[in-house]
């Protein structure tokens, strides 16, 4: 691993970015899920 000279710092940065992007995508996903629920409820209210 000597030849890699501190590459783990770069790897850690990349890992953090990746975690960040996925967490972000997860929250967007959940937000849309909530919207879907809201609209569904509104639709069912209308039908009643």
């Amino acid at each position: 691993m000597e030849t890699y000279g501190k590459i783990f710092v770069v790897v850690t940065v990349l890992a953090i970015i990746l975690v960040g992007i996925f967490v972000y995508l997860f929250f967007i996903d959940r937000k849309i899920g909530k919207l879907e629920k809201e609209i569904k409820e509104k639709e069912s209210h209308k039908q009643q």
């Binding site: 590459i7 770069v10 990746l18 996903d29 639709e43």
Partner: protein, 222 residues
């Protein structure tokens, strides 16, 4: 929760593995040195793009069978995600080429093929935006999409192979052993998981886009 998210979590774990272990796995000694590791990331963009194009193609065919709007929605959103991957593929490829081939853009059939392939799909987007009527737009673009897919296969997968002197591996007489089937075994342990990870990430983005598009449709109807 788990039922909904397991493949998204899998995508995350596979890509986390790819961007960490991808830097430590032993790679064969070649002229391109450490940049060989780009294979895990750059090639992933093309796997992602191709998967999205296959999805789009299938849903365009399905649209033409019953003219159901959901199918058209998947087709367009899949092309949008495919284009994202395509541009990332081009830009990462240019970065890599700058080192390995000495310039960001070289005379290479695969490069030019990929560029034409992307233009073909940009035309799809433009075609869609130029037809006002919703049903007409869906029909016309579904037919075009089938042509576009065939063109893409020809320009990116067939012609570079026939061209004979591509710089890309496993095309023409370039027999650099970096295609998956004769990839170094240790590299394979990262390559395949990485490709699945990229494809799943694309699928996730596609799902999000389709859901947003559906919501927009519901709001517009009311």
């Amino acid at each position: 929760m788990i039922k909904q998210y397991w493949w998204k979590l899998l995508s995350f774990l596979l890509l986390l593995y790819a961007v960490t272990y991808g830097f430590y796995v032993s790679i064969p000694e070649t002229m391109i040195l450490q940049t060989m590791r780009n294979l895990f990331y750059h090639v992933g963009m093309w796997f992602g793009m191709f998967t999205m194009l296959i999805v789009s193609f299938i849903f365009s065919l399905r649209y033409l069978k019953g003219f159901r709007e959901e199918n058209d929605r998947v087709a367009i959103e899949a092309v949008n995600v495919a284009l994202m991957f395509g541009f990332l593929g081009i830009f990462t490829g240019m970065t890599w080429a700058n080192f390995t081939w000495g310039a960001p853009w070289v005379k290479d059939p695969k490069l030019n093929g990929a560029a034409v392939g992307i233009v073909v799909y940009l035309a799809y987007i433009i075609l869609r935006s130029s037809v006002e009527d919703r049903h007409k737009r869906a029909k016309v673009s579904a037919v075009y999409n089938i042509f576009a897919f065939v063109l893409w296969i020809i320009f990116v997968l067939i012609l570079p192979r026939l061209a004979g002197d591509s710089l890309h591996p496993a095309t023409g007489n370039n027999s650099t052993p970096v295609m998956p089937m004769h990839l170094d075994p240790s590299m394979r342990t990262v390559f395949y998981p990485a490709m699945i990870g990229w494809i799943l990430l694309g699928t996730w983005i596609l799902q999000v886009r389709i859901r947003v598009s559906k919501l927009r449709h519901i709001i517009e109807e009311n």
